[in-house]
Amino acid sequence: MYNLVAVRVAGWISALGRAGHFLSDVTRSLRDVGTWAGLTAVQMRRIGVQSLPIAVFISIFTGIVLALLSSYSFTGAVPLYFVGTFVGKAMMLELAPVLVGLALAGRVGANIAAELGTMRVTEQVDALETLAYNPHAYLVVPRVVAATSMFPVVVALAMAVGMGAGWIASISLLELSTPDFVKGLRLFYQFKDVWFGLVKAMSFGLVIALIGCHKGLSTRGGAEGVGRETTSAVVLSAEMILVLDAFWAVVLL
């Protein structure tokens, strides 16, 4: 019993050590600008193309539901134009970044982990090193920079689409006029609503890409290993998004 606990704890500590080592390698590779700069644009385009459809899909449905839920909750006691307030705040502060983040943990995170994992087990990563490339500069940094910079763009779009969907739902399904919706939307609006959501999105992109790359590069044992590490990358990223979400709420609000 005592032994089992000790083994577990030792396992966590060594995993943390490896993660720390990975982070320091990646940080040092940032200096190798010549290697990663040119590759980052390609990754940005890939991440954008992978993310936009899901982000739009999620935000349309979330926007509609938010409008209906708020009007239901207000039960006539709260003026209906508060629907606009609720849709805007919920979308910008929480739902666009978190829901899109979770979906992209599956889409982008799994893609990165599976790709790098396959490269690792087929010795392509070793090949890159023997050709005198630094794999962290060549593979990791472009993905991390691209995800960190593209996630806020994707989430900003999701915010806009979500509020648009909420507005359309309000005027077509609820008895709310466009001026009233807009009035509600602007009521307690602060610029912080937007940047708070975008900072979160940025941190989610950073974490998803780092975890995907780390899991991918530490893959062992053929196709089975790739599957295992990909799954664990997605699960860990999703957990980290929720933890970070709470963290930012405590620190920034």
Binding site: E123, A127, L128, T130, L131
Partner: protein, 255 residues
């Protein structure tokens, strides 16, 4: 000159190399034979610094590999071509891009790159395959591209990890001829890791057998063919029973 001195390497509790010592002379082709899982690839990866020894050292041209800094390692790697077992071609790139990647890293100008790509593909008889992707190539063609990618850098050393494993006998013979040709044309020093004895006899100047984490015997092809060591005999003759323990051919497990 590549020298392994008393190299020890283990993964977790598994001791893979245990006092591995070997020297490879300038210009020769050294073939390292041994059972699957005996640590041949592990030994080879120490030469380019993909793995670092727990104990002992590997020396290339007077430099201790695991003591090199980043720049020293880049310099060393630019002189060593590594041919991977399953070719390890970058599957998102065409054959041309695969060959050009290492050259671009060495800041070779684009006209020279184009030339080198053409020459290297010609050397492995794959002219005209420049724009194909690895997925469109057969196993033997991929190995040839892997070889071409290594020689495009004009290395002084070539390391081959099981170049003929998994190929049909005719394709394997083609690869053997290419290895011989590469050595004649480029005058490289080579280490070939394999368990294919036909290939070993064809390309080797000397043969060394890796057994239980260390070199069991090293000698010229004739010396090895005439050996009385029962373990080496059993391996080169491919007999199922005898003194050797194929399963336990790695150095073993430490607790």
């Amino acid at each position: 000159m590549i020298v392994f001195r008393n190299v020890h390497k283990r993964f977790g509790t598994k001791q893979v190399l245990q006092g591995f010592s070997l020297d490879v002379k300038e210009g020769e082709t050294m073939v390292v034979i041994g059972y699957s899982g005996s640590g041949k690839s592990v030994a080879l990866k120490h030469v380019v610094g993909l793995l670092a020894p727990d104990e002992g050292e590997v020396e290339v041209d007077g430099r201790i590999v695991h003591q090199l800094d980043r720049a020293g390692l880049v310099e060393l790697r630019s002189q060593i071509g590594f041919v991977f077992q399953f070719a390890a071609l970058f599957d998102s790139m065409t054959v041309r891009e695969n060959l050009a990647l290492g050259l671009r890293r060495q800041k070779v100008n684009s006209r020279t790159i184009e030339e080198r790509v053409r020459e290297s593909l010609a050397l492995v008889d794959l002219m005209g395959a420049e724009d194909r992707y690895p997925a469109e190539l057969s196993g033997g063609m991929r190995k040839r591209v892997g070889l071409a990618r290594a020689i495009a850098l004009r290395p002084r050393y070539l390391l081959y990890d099981e170049p003929t494993t998994g190929l049909d006998p005719v394709t394997a013979a083609v690869i053997n001829e290419l290895m011989v040709r590469t050595r004649e044309r480029l005058g490289v020093t080579g280490i070939v890791v394999t368990h294919d004895m036909t290939s070993a006899y064809r390309v080797a100047d000397r043969i060394a057998m890796l057994y239980r984490g260390a070199i069991r015997q090293v000698g010229t092809v004739e010396q090895v063919q005439r050996t009385h060591d029962p373990i080496v005999r059993q391996f080169i003759e491919g007999r199922p029973e005898g003194a050797a323990d194929a399963e336990g051919a790695a150095a073993g497990t430490t607790r």
